[in-house]
Amino acid sequence: MPKLTRRHMLALGCSAAASPLMTPVTFASTPGENRLVVIILRGAMDGLDAVRPIGDPGLATLRGGMGKDADLDGFFGLHPALSPLLPLWTKGQLSAVHAVSTPYRDRRSHFDGQDLLEAGMGMDALGQTRDGWLNRLLSLMPGAEAETAYAIGRADMLLTRGASPVANWAPDAALTLSPQAKMLLERVLHDDPLFRIAALEAISLSQAGLPEGEEITEGDMMNAMAQSSRRAQRAAAPTEIARFAASRLRGDTRIAAFSLAGFDTHARQDRNLPRALERLTEAVLTLQETLGTVWEKTAIVAVTEFGRTARLNGSGGTDHGTAGAMILAGGALNGGRVITDWPGLSEADLYQRRDLRPTRDLRAHLAWILRPMFDVSEADLTRTVFPGLDMGADPRIIF
């Protein structure tokens, strides 16, 4: 049967009762059972600090003492802010990929770097990026519909933009309506299917993050009104986003994507990076806690636009660099190892004598994750999802 999306249903004038969110009926076969969570770390995470090559003598020369870190495998250690994830490492459910980058080189602009990361393209595509690799992946998944993939958060992500339908929801857009207001709102919107269906979905999604059976009271609504100026400025907490993502992934959703900001550590990295990494840790642990049995089928992939300079700068921070690290977690991982062709940190090993040298393409690892998880062919991956990519050898990231 043809795939049914919210758009199609609106065009057909279907009633709200037929919305996929309103009923347990799915209209298309769901494409497989695996779950992927993509987290974009905005601001260029310092891979050398997050996953520390403590066995490389160059590290102490470049960075001095970095304090206490958790030893992973004798050569790499984990930043203290990530150490709550160590039990996952022991279970083989945490991994890192090191000294990787997108094809982006030399200009070191966040905006261009993020565009290429999310577009999954090469330098020649700069300025011409219209859709994201995750959206193009969906175009290859038979039976993908709007609920298959969720983009979560207020920002419009290039990663999920494109021709394939992707559902969007920002937990901080949740409606706080009293029962009376909700009833009156439904009445006001009733005769306009576009508004009615969207509002019913919004009301249902607003409940998704709340504990079972909790109703919004009139007091909550007045409170929300008083607080809304504060709330509007602050994006949703990572736990809130992760909890919402898990609520969808436990159902028909197969892919969720969101971003975490705060990784641009030009100064006082010892103080600023932990805050950002803690948010990542919270997101991963919340997903683990709330995904239930689905965790075993899940891979979380955290990627950033580029790495940072190997040396600390004069204000205890790092500037924009080249290669960095990906952090992977989830029950689907063949983990407990750092995957890398380590380039070394001696002066001559550095890229332009300043940055960690990229030894492999970040996209190749993404492709090798997608290949088994969603049964996508290498030809489709290197033509459609990541045009022109050389996938290289299989690092066997997924079981």
């Binding site: 409606l175 005769d191 100026s229």
Partner: protein, 458 residues
Amino acid sequence: MFDPERAEKRFGCGLAPGIAGPASAAEIMERLRAPDEAAAAFPIPTFSQVLPRLRGLQLARQARRTTATDTARAETLESYRALRKALRLDATRWGGHVLLRRALTRDGLRERLTAFWADHFTARGDGQLWGLVQLPYVEEAVRPHVTGRFGDMLRAVMTQPLMLSYLDQHRSAGANSPIGQARGRGLNENLAREMLELHTLGADGPYTQADVTELAKLLTGLTFHMERGFEFRPNLAEPGAETVLGISYGGETARLADIYAALDALAAHPATAAHVARKLAVHFISDRPDAALVDALSGVFQSTDGDLAALTEALLTHPAAWQPEARNVKRPVDFIGSALRALDLVPRHIPLTAPRKMDALFTAPMTLMGQPPGQPPGPDGFAEDDLDWITPQRLAARISWAMTAPFQIRRALPRPEEFARAALGIDIPAPVRSAALGAETRAEGIGLILASPAFQRV
């Protein structure tokens, strides 16, 4: 046929309790041809006026790197931060002025046309500084031309630093130009492609990849300097003539006049007329506009050599523009602007000098609604399709704003039944009337009216 309330909703910024709407299409055109009162009352500087401040910030930033002592570095950092903070504060006020213009103008169509053409010629600044100056770009290159010639607006936007930087034109050099040869630099086709695909002929227009490349070669030399603004630099220009859509431009010496000649030819092309006519009809009337209306607009564009006042007048006097059914959904800026208008504001209600409040009341909610101010998703601007705007998340953001923001902006809220008349006009749907009366608080009643399709559709 003409209807004063429909005119304000569909072609203006919405109904306002204290502002008399136009009595005829001729009156709308009269206001539009008169001096720009809203811009005078709520000024926004032009990009040229702001450029020296960007240059000052650039110098201050460079000074940070070149100072010798820690004390000097701290001083330069301090001055850089002060300059940046001042620019941020001003940019906040400009954003507020956009809303106040919409809330208080008697010439709403000018605001709508400015937004429409700014979107057609989308240019966006990225980064901490250039991200703040999209409105000055619009003020300089777009707004003065909304009743002028399309070709003049095209020329104005293509000589703006923000556009040249956004679409990478300042990085483009002829491979055989003096600079291209000396520094190994080459062509960037981005601006040429978007100019054909988005700004003039349209995505299905009659051009080939060869036209894109040739136009890109012809455009080499268009660039800007942080002190002098727009510049044409012949030593960046690819030597020789280029052929675009079958017409040859230029010769041995690179000249700006040849680029202008190509822009004029693109502006006058029938495909451009059809593309612009369709976009205008989609924006103001319906996602699926009446074919006769599009043809009529296209014809006027061609017969008047792209006279935008004549084009606008043709839209306002066409019967298809007045069909009673409201088919379009307001974009977030139209939604918020018209809500403020219906609330009968005075300027002091808008906290222009409090960036955090402005962000909480407008920027953050508009981002959740899908229209972050000054940050369109790509060179094709914001979506036109109603289905892109009324998604669960975006509608939730509209409803939340409607329920909470009016009370924060204006503590003394009007009675819901009076507000319904002010916001919706004579024709108030029965469910909206009863919901407004049935609400437990004034804020909720006003929120329900603003959340209604009757308010959000035009």
